[in-house]
Amino acid sequence: MTEVEKKCIFAQTVDTAPDGRKDRSSASLKAQQAGESGWAWSIVTVSLCTGIAMLTYPAFELVDVAMIYLLGVVITASRTTKWPALLTAFLSVAAFDFFFVPPRFTFAVAQTRHIVTFAVMFFVTLATSRLTLRIRQQAEESQLKEQRTAALYDLSRELVRERDMDKLKAIAEQHIGKLFDSNVVVLLPDLHGRPMPPAREFPWSEQEREAAQYVFDNRQPAGSNALTGPDAVALYLPLIASAGTIGVVGLRQKSKRKLEPEQLRYLEAFINQTGIAIERALMAEESRRASVKAETEGLRNTLLSSISHDLRTPLTAVTGAVSTLLDADARLDRQGRRELLETIQEESDRLNRVIKNVLAMTRLESGILMLQKEWQSLEEIVGVVLNRLGERLNDHPVTLNLPASLPLIPFDGLLLEQVFMNLFENAIKYTPRGTPLELSASEQLFTVTVEFADKGPGIPPGQEERIFEKFVRGGTAGGGVGLGLAICRAIITAHGGRIWAENRPGGGALFRFTLSSAGVPPLPEREE
């Protein structure tokens, strides 16, 4: 069905009028117009029948002539409505009497038995016309029904496919609008149960708002065409779902015509479909919110227990060391004092790292963090990290392989620094002293791939993905909330890259991540 045809199902006649011109009227109008031309039909048909009968009579008998008229009645009934058909029947009997029944060309009847003939003929024609009419109506109705069902099916099929509330509304508004030749809006209530004003163009006023509110509160139609509720320019119908009224549908017809009761019934069917779809979307949204909430709460609990452990451990060491220094100052030798002070320093550093990662994760997840992308040089960022790690890298020789041909990459420098920082800190934490670390990068097809390899125990098989999850720690060694790699992944993902881990064939872990190097920064002109 084309869109234009679809539109015809409700707003226009299905059939072509008898006179051959395409009739653009409604069903009731159609009956009326078919009636007007129907009168002509009956007169023309009866005249034609009379003409044909004249040619055949008296070669044919009176019974045959009656049959010709009967045929005329059937034809008229199949083309017109009840009253023209009735007129045809009446005229046929009259013409039969006038032209053929002796004495001919008078309405007088010579033999009484002809009266019976007239009566039988009249009732037969009447019955035939009624039967024909009914058959025709049924055919038309079933065709219309079929088309309407198809349209309804189209709507529900499209609604089922969609999950987004705004799109659902748009689909319903478009379909119903087209089928009923109207401007349609779906109005959902706000938190206070007040239908929200239409987001798209729709004539809206205090009167319309009141009608919509009435519909929402009373579950009864209101507005133009409605028997209940306040009057308004548009017609408002309740959007009913299993949980009650979930909204209001406003419909403003483009023409001034009244909607037929049958059209209203179909409109209701369409609105019900829409109601079901919207309720489904509302419920999905609600359950999504609930699960996000549950997940957030679960996360928060894990985070709290994890953080409180990771903050308390170094804090306990610091407090302990300090209280020893304060209380037993006299009994401590130089060496002992120094060790306690070093403990305080190391544990404070550790505290700082934990806090930094927790903050970074919180900011990354809450979306507060705005990426400050600038053209960055990998070598420079790695340099910062190596400098910052300083002595902590003394036990791990680092080999760098960063070709001079590497391009600048658009990246948030501080976040990239944190990625490298976390990778190095993990390596320091989880690989034995003296094992080497290798950092290399290469560019291919506008993608820079960075590889960070160690010679430690590697990743437990099957855990290659899990280690990027939050609060998953690589082992019992060291401390840490288990956020390091999760932060790396969050950062790389936020930049459109990928990060993953694997075990090296010769032992040790290998971390890889990709960064897009597409685009060329405006560079200064080369000198010399």
């Binding site: 040089s377 340099g383 910062v384 600048l408 560079l523 200064p524 000198e527």
Partner: protein, 240 residues
């Protein structure tokens, strides 16, 4: 310690931070005035004329940027801002508004003292107005009068822009310089946002002047802020 040691104004609202800084600074002989609000700090700065101002960026009554701007309206006193790591933008703004350097919490006493020394050195030099003809850092020697750069006594050839960039870094030796300041001084205000120029030229400089460009010893990147030519007047480096 000597009686005429420099006077430092500390504007910080956290009592524990003030205590730590007081003990550290006084144990190194500096004289100290403390202010717990920006208003009080500005008053003290006007009446006592300190040699260095240590300014916390998280003051309750005024933001650090405003304090910096107000101080700069009438004083050239070096300002070192102290801030948390998450305030990168605030730091850059304060630096662009005239602050001389910054410290990120938590910091060690050594870092703090080094920053103060650099700031004091710059303010003395600024007052005397005497140009420094030769800059030496470890194996690097720059003869500013001859426009020559030596590494291990071998002359290194720099392009005019590389040299200009190095000059700006030397002029601010030890202090951080924001991207904007560097770009404005070397390429002009029209290129103040082209950070990638700096990436390219700093890389070139490092490859020419650093033994291991990926582990730079003096051409230091300060992510999100700018660059710093590492230099401490009291360590081995010196300006002769």
């Amino acid at each position: 310690m000597s009686e005429d040691k420099e006077l430092i104004l500390l504007i910080e609202d956290e009592q524990q931070m003030r205590r730590f800084l007081r003990i550290t600074l006084q144990s190194h002989g500096y004289r100290l005035i403390e202010a717990s609000t920006a208003q009080e700090g500005l008053l003290q700065a006007a009446s006592r004329n300190p040699d260095v101002v240590l300014l916390d960026l998280g003051l309750p009554d005024m933001d650090g940027l405003e304090v910096t701007s107000r101080l700069r309206e009438w004083a050239q006193t070096p300002i070192i801002v102290i801030s948390a790591r998450e305030q990168e933008q605030d730091k850059v703004k304060a630096l662009d508004a005239g602050a001389d350097d910054y410290l990120t919490k938590p910091f060690s006493a050594n870092e703090l003292l080094a920053r103060i020394r650099v700031a004091l050195r710059h303010s003395i030099r600024g007052r005397s107005g005497r140009p420094e003809p030769i800059f030496v850092f470890d194996t690097l020697r720059v003869d500013l009068s001859q426009r020559q750069v030596f590494l291990n006594n071998n002359e290194v050839h720099l392009t005019p822009l590389e040299y200009k960039l190095l000059m700006v870094l030397i002029r601010h030796a030890g202090k951080v310089i924001t991207h904007r300041q560097l770009l404005t001084e070397v390429w002009g205000p029209a290129h103040a946002k082209e950070v990638q120029y700096l990436r390219v030229y700093m890389t070139q400089l490092r490859h020419k002047l650093e033994a291991d460009p990926a582990r730079p010893r003096f051409l230091i990147n300060e992510p999100g802020i700018g660059y710093r030519l590492k230099y401490d007047p009291d360590e081995r480096t010196s300006i002769k």
